[in-house]
């Protein structure tokens, strides 16, 4: 019995120190206003800091930007992954080469993908401007209208490999005899996709959407590398806002409120996922 405790103890120590303690501390930090200079004491403000931060321009802007980012990257990323998976699901000679190519971006990290995107997006040497005939002018990353779209594009490309792999696995799980029955029943290619493949794929699609959204809400690396939250806070996603609040403003009270908001959003999304999974019909054969 003691062995049981001994075996879980190391994990619990790590969790306690680096997950639960800081999590709880956020709530405490949020109750105090952090002074502009580190040596001054904190002042108790109670719940008003929650209110002021959550209604502030910083938060509303970050929240909106992050939601836009999620909406830009998740549906498109899944749809493209699915499209590639369907195309690579055919029985053609040499199809495995294409499958390898389509999953290749899975080796790119956020940093690697961001730097790769500089070949297209860099103001001086990027190819995108050249193709669009805008040599010499601003890169999309510096354009308030396009910056978030550009970063979203990089993110979609980076996630394409993983999306492809997950969708391919989902497609494999669609039973062959169902599709054959549909063929004999008279359904054409599109009808088979809509009436058989998509419904059988829906658990995978739900999973990918929810997990993808949760991960997208936590995006940081590509923002830090490509736009640093700009131009004019047009790419200032929530995690980057927290980062700036901690390191540029040294305001951990404010950061704590933002962090709690981030957690709350994650929690809501996770709850939605669990609820959807419960209600999902299990497709027993």
């Amino acid at each position: 019995m003691m062995l049981g405790y001994a075996l879980v103890l190391p994990s619990l120590l790590v969790f306690g120190t680096f997950i639960f303690y800081p999590f709880v501390k956020n709530f405490w930090l949020a109750l105090y206003r952090t002074p502009p200079f580190p040596n001054l004491p904190r002042s108790w403000v109670g719940l008003s800091q929650y209110r002021s931060v959550l209604t502030s321009q910083l938060f509303t802007n970050s929240f909106r930007v992050t939601v836009e980012f999620v909406v830009l990257t998740v549906p498109l990323g899944i749809a493209l992954g699915l499209a590639l998976a369907v195309l690579a699901h055919q029985r053609l000679r040499g199809i495995s080469v294409f499958r390898t190519i389509f999953s290749s971006t899975v080796v790119t990290s956020v940093a690697v993908a961001s730097l790769i995107s500089l070949t297209l997006l860099n103001p001086q040497i990027g190819l995108l401007n050249y193709w669009l005939g805008r040599t010499g002018s601003l890169s999309p990353l510096d354009d308030p209208k396009w910056a978030l779209v550009a970063v979203a594009g990089v993110t979609i490309w980076q996630n394409l490999g993983l999306s492809f792999i997950i969708m391919s696995a989902g497609l494999q799980a669609v039973p062959d005899d169902l599709l054959e029955a549909a063929r004999v029943d008279g359904a054409g290619t599109w009808s088979r996709f809509r009436n058989v493949t998509l419904p059988m794929l829906s658990p995978t699609l739900f999973f990918a959407t929810i997990v993808g959204s949760i991960l997208a809400f936590h995006s940081f690396g590509q923002i830090d590398l490509l736009t640093q939250g700009g131009p004019a806070d047009h790419t200032n996603v929530l995690v980057y806002a927290i980062y700036k609040t901690v390191f540029q403003e040294n305001n951990d009270g404010k950061a704590a409120v933002l962090a709690i908001a981030l957690f709350a959003i994650t929690l809501v999304l996770t709850m939605v996922q669990l609820r959807l999974l419960e209600r999902r019909v299990s497709y027993e054969r």
Partner: protein, 363 residues
């Protein structure tokens, strides 16, 4: 006219020959059973009728048309899969409706046809359930309903009873025969179960290793198997096959089996002589192998199985060959180790060429 025909059809998957030069014609309104062991190519042949696989060589016709290049949806056949292949996310109603919807049948007609099919198969109360909520037998009936709702030219059935338990299987067999009589449609039925084949088919086509072994009414196939494979495949317990040599006797040819020489009837002897055969395989069905005190073949009893209404007795001939014979319960029960004498009537002898396995027939 819904005849289905294979004309020298061969199907290869890489180096493997799944169907070998199959020529077979299935008449309109016929119930034809494709019978054979697992992996013999019968399912592949069925799938080629449906258009799910394409022949490597040869042509397939439905009605008067060659359909090699016709898409499954345009062939006007319906298929019942071994796994039923019901759409799990659709209700029974929508499952049965699907083939009609795919062909843009208008709503009222669709509803009427679906309800007719449901009534025929006793599914009216289950129309709004999903497949996961149904029992195996009910799911099978939904698969059937989906097939009949379109009134196709032909039904293709791929081992539809194999996933049912024994009792349900017997009941459903009878239901299927009744259904076909009612619908008067061509049925091509694949199975590995010879009882199903014998009880259900107008004709049975036996297939082994992709090649057609014999085709004919069940009784024909039973009484005159065309080769050793068919002889051994049809009938439970299987026909006894005994290796024998052809010997010349004073009054004609005989076959030398362990422990005796059995004279051949004149016509059979002619046929054997005409083919210059030296080695043959002699076949006798267990029910035709009788115990008689004056029987000419001695055999030692090894196992006695009592089945309630009859006995199966396994015995060994002098050279160790195992044969099985049947006995009524009224007859005295033999003991293990006892030596019996077996006999049969000449008309129940089947002679096969020992090398080719082909039946030797009186002309």
């Amino acid at each position: 006219m819904a005849r289905v025909a294979f004309d020298h059809v061969t199907k290869r998957f890489g180096d493997v020959v799944a169907v070998d030069d199959l020529t077979l014609e299935i008449a309109d309104k016929e119930f034809l059973v494709l019978l054979g062991p697992s992996g013999c190519g019968k399912s592949t042949a069925l799938r080629m009728i449906a258009g799910l696989d394409d022949p490597t060589e040869g042509t397939i016709s439905i009605g008067d048309e060659i359909v090699n290049d016709v898409e499954p949806r345009d062939r006007d056949v319906a298929m019942v899969f071994q796994t039923y292949a019901l759409y799990p996310h659709m209700t029974v109603r929508r499952n049965v409706e699907f083939p009609l919807k795919s062909r843009n049948v208008p709503h009222e007609e669709r509803t009427r046809l679906v309800e007719d099919a449901a009534e025929t198969l006793g599914l009216t109360d289950l129309l709004d359930r999903k497949p996961a909520q149904l029992s195996g037998g009910q799911r099978q009936r939904v698969a059937l309903a989906r097939a009949i709702v379109r009134r196709p030219q032909a039904f293709l059935m791929d081992e539809p009873l194999s996933n049912l338990d024994a009792k349900l299987r017997v009941q459903t067999r009878a239901d299927l025969i009744e259904l076909q009589a009612q619908l008067q449609t061509t049925v091509v039925y694949v199975t590995h179960d010879q009882v199903e084949a014998m009880t259900m088919g107008n004709r049975i086509a036996i297939i082994a290793k992709g090649a057609l072994q014999q085709v004919g009414p069940p009784q024909d196939v039973y009484e005159r198997p065309a080769n050793l494979f068919v002889a051994g495949f049809i009938g439970t317990p299987p026909m006894n096959i005994i290796g024998a040599k052809v010997v010349q006797e004073a009054d004609g040819l005989a076959v030398s089996v362990p422990g005796a020489r059995v004279p051949l009837p004149a016509e059979l002897a002619h046929a054997v002589a005409a083919r210059n055969l030296e080695k043959v395989a002699v076949g006798v069905r267990p029910e035709h192998l009788l115990l008689a005190p004056d029987g000419f073949v001695p055999a030692t009893v090894t196992v006695v199985e009592s089945l309630g209404h009859e006995r199966n007795i396994a015995c060994r001939l002098d050279d160790g060959t195992l044969v099985i014979t049947r006995q009524d319960m009224d007859d005295p029960r033999p003991t293990v180790g006892e030596t019996l004498r077996l006999t049969t009537e000449p008309e129940f002898l089947h002679v096969f060429d020992a090398d080719t396995g082909e039946r030797v027939d009186a002309p």
